[in-house]
Each structure stands twice: as C-alpha cells, then as structure tokens.
C-alpha cells in the first residue's frame, strides 16, 4: 500500500477535516484496483495511515460485496440474476457462461482467466440481461453475444 500514500494524501485533502474514517472505502477500492484484492498487510497499513481501528476495515471488507480478500481471474464476469434480467433470460445467460467456461458461479477457470459470479440488480434493467465484466456493463446479452465476448476476452 505504501506506494499509494501520495495518492491517498491528495484524496484526503478533498474531504473536510476530521473525515479520516470516510476514507476507508475509497482507499480500499484503490488498493483492490492496484493489487486485485485486499491483503492482510493492506489492512494493517491502512489502519495505521488513517488511524482507524483494524476491525472497522475488516467489517467493511466483509460487508460490501465488491471487496475481495483473495485473488480472482483476470476477467470477472458478473451476471445479474435479479428480476428484470431473469425475465429477459438471465438464467440462460448464467447457464451458458457456466457451460462455456466449465465453471459454476463463484469459481475461476484453471488458467486463471475467468471468474464467474452472479450478482443482484446492477441498475441496468432496461437493457437486460446484463453481464458486468470487470468494471464494464455488457448489455442486451444473448448466447451469441456472450460467445463473441468470451472469445474477445480469451484472445
């Protein structure tokens, strides 16, 4: 985390004085972007830097679905399975992705390229079904479009 401290100092100046605790989420997001996940050493370093209790960081990491405590695949495919996506074929999308990649939700391919997850509503119901790949939404998915997407990502 040490190499991110200069960035965190900039971020800190944007908040009012006394808002150190608020920096837990943005700092963790940046750490995860950088390492791909959040390690024990990051928690210690961040608790030190912000002067917040270690348990607060642990709680945040376990509470929010987007934080990870272990590495995942290069491409994280997150298929929405909430109402509007299910009504537009999300169950088929998840099945198709699983068959195509040979893994189930929560698993990573042996080559470390793909991790498959299911998620609840991504707020993109008008273009359902939706699969989020890393940070990007892929909308109006169909088996053909999924195949094309996976081929692009695998190459």
């Amino acid at each position: 985390m040490k190499h991110l401290v200069a960035e965190f100092d900039v971020l800190r100046r944007r908040f009012p004085a006394g808002f150190e605790s608020s920096l837990v989420l943005p700092c963790l997001r940046r750490i995860q972007e950088d390492r791909g996940w959040v390690a024990d050493a990051d928690i210690d370093a961040l608790a030190d830097y912000l002067g917040v209790p270690r348990i607060q960081i642990e709680e945040v990491l376990s509470y929010y679905t987007q934080f990870r405590r272990a590495p995942i695949g290069r491409w994280h495919l997150q298929a929405c399975r909430n109402l509007s996506c299910s009504m537009r074929g999300a169950e088929g999308v998840i099945e198709h992705l699983g068959e195509r990649l040979g893994i189930g939700p929560g698993e990573t391919t042996a080559d470390g390229r793909f991790t498959l997850s299911t998620v609840e509503c991504l707020g993109s119901c008008g273009t359902a079904p939706v699969v989020m790949v890393n940070e990007t939404y892929h909308e109006d998915m169909s088996p053909e479009r999924l195949d094309a997407l996976i081929e692009r990502l695998a190459s």
Binding site: P16, S22, L83
Partner: protein
C-alpha cells in the same frame, strides 16, 4: 407523448453531458443569479412552494426536509445526493448522472447555498462505472470553471463536492445506511429519531435527496414555483422519470408528467407487452411496491395519490411489466432471494425473516411446500412490518403480500400438484432464445 418534460429537454448526443453543452443550454446561469441576488431562505421558500416531492421512493416533500435545517446554528451542515440507485427495476438516476451531470451539480450548489452547506457529497453505487466517470468528470469541469470551490461566481459562497463510491450494498440506498457508509463503515441504518436533518453525517444536520429530486431544483428556482406547479397534478407537481423494464416492447427511461394515464403509458408510449402478449401485472415503482394487475391499472394515472389509492405506490418509478404466462411463484422466489442476500443483519426480524421467506419459497419450488407455507409467508411479512430499523423488512413484506394477494392460486397449485402453473417461466413465452424447458418441480 407523456406530457411536459422538465429534465429530458435536450437531445442526447455524444457530448450533451459536457460543461460546454450544458452552458449552451443556459447552464449555471441560475446558480450565478442565486448566489448574487437571492438569500438562502428565499431559495428554500421557492422549493417548498413548488411542492417538489422526493423521487427516491417515499415522496416526502423536499421543502419540508430542507426546512428542518437551522441556518446560522454555528455548526456545519452537509448535503448528499443519493445516487445509490439499487431498487431492482430502477435505473432512472443513471440517466441524469450519464446525460445531465451538470444539472445535478448546479442543483446541488443551489441547494447547498440554501442550506448553508460547505461540503456536499454524491454517494454513487459502486457498480456504476460510466455514471461515476460522468459525474466525476463533470465535478472536475465545474471546479475548473469556478462553479465549485472558493467564492463561486465572485460571491462569498464556497462549496466542495466529493463523489463517493459505494461498494455493493442495497441497504446503503436507505438514507441513514448511506451516511454510515459515507462515514467509512459497514452500512448499518440508524434508528430515528433523531432525524438525519438534526443529526446526520458525523452527527451534523444533513440533507439527503435523491438525484432526480435535486435535479429539479435548478428549474424550480429558475422558472419559479408557480410554473412548476402548472405541471403534473395538485398533489404530485412536476414529472417523474420512469424506468420501465421486463416484458415490455420498448424498455428504457421515460419522463412522464404526473397524472398521465398508466395504461396508455404502457400500451402506447412503451409499445405494450413484448411480442403482443397479454399483460398479467405491473410492478409500479420498484420491486418493493405491490404488483397491480392489468385491470387494476386501467383507471389509474401516474401520480402518487392515484397509485396509492390502488393499494400500491409509484415508489422510485422502477416499473416492471409482466406478461401473461409468467410464473409468480418463481417471480417471488427471485425477490425473496434478493432480500435475503441484501439484509444487513442488524435487526432480528429482517435477518431471520428474509432467510425464512427465501427457504419457504425455495421449498415450494422444489415441490416440497405445504399449504400452510402461504400463510407463513404472510405472517413473516406482518411480523417484519415496522419492527426493523430501516424499511427493507417492510418492503420485502409488501412485495410478498402483494403477490400472494393477487396470485394465491399459483402458490396453491404448485404446492398441491408439485409443479408450476406456468412451467416455472420468468422469460416471456415468446422469448426468442428460450433455453430448453427446464423441469421445475
């Protein structure tokens, strides 16, 4: 056409979200006038007189919320735009964040001026990437142009806006959960009283308004409360952004003048049900509002009073259209799975109740349900109502009670026969790439 438009007033192009485009449309002229010529109380008075309602779901009058803030009480006040759009079926605020970010910023600056706020926040859900980039870039543009920062437009008014990203939690869309999250902790909602306008962010008076609510402020202050009241109905002035999805021909975000015909909106403006199928029911305002059948909506208009009179609510404007032939048992299964997944675990009735409801519906779908299970679901819903810190427990109950009230026969059929009345189908019957029929039960 869905009546007068107040927000979707310009064509969306590749650069319509930029500062340059916004200024060409008259952007930031209202803020300039406000900080130079108006007193903070005048702004609040105008917004209160407009009757602007909250657009996050509860439809609480914005002016009344603002009115709680005491000016000159020698403590900081905070403002936060709630952009944690997470109610399934709702994706309207995304339209503002992506296409009109400067309208939100100008409106927040005017609101901050009215409430004597020095630091404001946009709390945006962590999954939103493009909306986050758009609002974050717009904030930078506004700083560079002097519409944020020190001495705005040469006045004594200064404002900083921080865009704060959530990290995946439905409950953080609830105002007090949002604040706890903004304090860098797990997003546990808080008991009221004290109200957040009395003790909010770091125990200071805080106003939290939905993105769409705030976006209306600039127009109200620019054109006056009377002009705003000419749009919509007496009890629901203005317009509502409705995001419509599910089995509908033309899903998307529509701006609808309050009072517009519900049935006409679906039938004509949105092209009706997918592939010309019959309409079974509609979720009117996010999945936590009770479903309405095709017959229910026929006499209704799209405003809070009309939809409330039918026993439901316009909520967050997240409308989901359901075609005939859809299995409402599996429909409820998706909802209770979601609520179970999202319960923060703070209050016993919700933490345990969501799990019970989820397991009961799973059991029915597995063909192992008992007729008593239907009443069990209703009893759990009732036990949750009003017994939890935030409204999530209640919301799950409303959705469940609503579905069982209208489609109890489908639950009884599955329990008695061990299979769905509609082949367990969630996709429309004419879904083009319908997967092989999966045996359900």
């Amino acid at each position: 056409m869905t009546g007068t438009k107040l927000l979707m007033t310009f064509p969306v192009t590749a650069d319509s979200h930029t500062l340059e485009s916004y200024c060409k449309r008259g952007g930031y002229a209202t803020l300039e006038k406000v900080v130079r010529e108006m007193r903070p109380e005048q702004v609040t008075k105008e917004v209160a007189a407009s009757g602007l309602l909250g657009h996050g779901g509860a439809a609480f009058p914005a002016g009344r919320k603002w009115g709680v803030i005491k000016l000159n009480d020698e403590q900081p006040h905070y403002l936060c735009a709630n952009a944690d759009e997470g109610e399934p079926g709702t994706f309207k605020d995304r339209w503002i964040l992506e296409h009109a970010p400067h309208l939100l910023i100008e409106s927040m600056a005017i609101t901050a001026y009215a409430l004597q706020v020095r630091h404001a926040f946009v709390y945006i859900r962590g999954e939103f990437d493009l909306p986050w980039r758009r609002i974050a870039e717009a904030v930078e543009e506004a700083y560079a142009a002097g519409w944020l920062g020190e001495s705005i437009a040469g006045s004594a008014f200064s404002l900083d806006i921080v865009v704060y990203r959530g990290a995946g939690s439905y409950v953080c869309g609830e105002a007090s959960g949002l604040l706890t999250s903004l304090e860098g902790r797990k997003g546990y909602p808080r008991n009221r009283p004290p109200r957040l306008t009395v003790r909010g962010l770091y125990q200071r008076p805080t106003v939290i308004n939905n993105v769409e609510t705030l976006a209306n402020v600039t127009g109200i202050v620019r054109d006056g409360a009377a002009a705003f009241r000419k749009v919509g109905t007496a009890k629901s002035p203005g317009t509502q952004l409705i995001s419509i999805s599910g089995h509908v021909q033309r899903p998307g975000v529509y701006e609808v003048e309050y009072g517009y015909s519900f049935a006409k909106f679906i039938r004509e403006d949105c092209g009706g049900v997918l592939g010309g199928l019959g309409l079974k029911c509609v979720v009117p305002g996010g999945i936590s509002t009770k479903v309405l059948t095709a017959a229910d909506i026929e006499p209704l208009t799209l405003d809070h009073a009309s939809v409330a009179a039918a026993g439901s609510g316009l909520g967050s404007g997240g409308m989901v259209v359901v075609a005939e032939g859809t299995c409402m048992v599996r429909f409820l299964q998706v909802l209770v799975r979601f609520y179970h997944h999202e319960s923060c675990g703070q209050c016993t009735p919700c933490r345990e109740g969501m799990g019970w409801m989820h397991r009961i519906v799973d059991r029915i779908v597995a063909g192992e349900g008992q007729l008593e299970d239907i009443d069990r679901l209703l009893a759990i819903s009732k036990a949750n109502d009003g017994t939890t810190i935030c409204g999530m427990g209640d919301a799950a109950g409303y959705a469940t009670v609503g579905i069982i009230a209208k489609f109890r026969d489908e639950f009884e059929h599955w329990i008695k026969s061990g299979r769905s009345l509609h082949e367990g189908r969630l996709e429309a019957a004419n879904h083009e790439w319908l997967r092989e029929a999966v045996p359900h039960g």
